[in-house]
Amino acid sequence: MTGAQIIFLMVAAFTLLSAVMVVTTRNLVHAALWLVSTLFGVAVVYALLNANFIAVVQVVVYIGAIAILFIFAVMLTRKDMRDSGPQINKNWWAGALVAMLTFAGLAFLLSGWSGFSKTAAELPAGFDSISLLGESLVSPEAYVLPFEVASVLLLAALVGAVYVAFNPSKK
């Protein structure tokens, strides 16, 4: 067991444990906070994969914006500070069965693929993924069009969210 493998196993265990707590805990604000720790674990996984720009953007966008949005929404949609009533459906066993079948199916399908147990290639020295990423995001031969479409999508979502959540009685 090399050091990299031990670190990966610890991070993966932390992430999966936090994810299980997200979907099972009764208190919804606690679920949002467990989501924060899951997202942080995923950011560490990105850093292990040498995608450090993606790791930092994960923290900034997911933890810094989306998780805070969740906490705000949880606090704005409750009559009191407690969660009442059952938080899980009656047929939770069916949901668990479907989830486990999905995991087993994905694992089985992927294990039949030839590249399943590939090991990572060494990064060339001085490999600067950020400038390559920046070039591919604005280069016409690469991904400038999806990039611009994504920004239009974000604009539409911004305008739509403000309009839907706007409360005219509070002016």
Partner: protein, 103 residues
Amino acid sequence: MVPLSWYLLLAAALFGIGLFGVLVRRNAIAVLLGIELMLNAVNINLVSFWRYSDVLTSMSGQVFSIIVFAVAAAEVSVGLALVISVYRRRNTVIADELDMLKW
């Protein structure tokens, strides 16, 4: 070294847990939490496919994961705006209780 299979299994497990959350939770916001877990699982897959590819200078994996970030952020903001708006009208966010159309 860590083989690719470990990352793919981690992503599949995270996806399964998110799927469980979507199917089983009653609160609409908790369902959105499950969706976020599934999107993160997809992102792990994309980035690990980039890292383990033979051509490391082709940044498609990272570009796709950035697009997924943007899509997830857009979807969460619109979804939560809808949930807040529904709460203002019906005073509940339990998905089971939102079963009547406007009357």
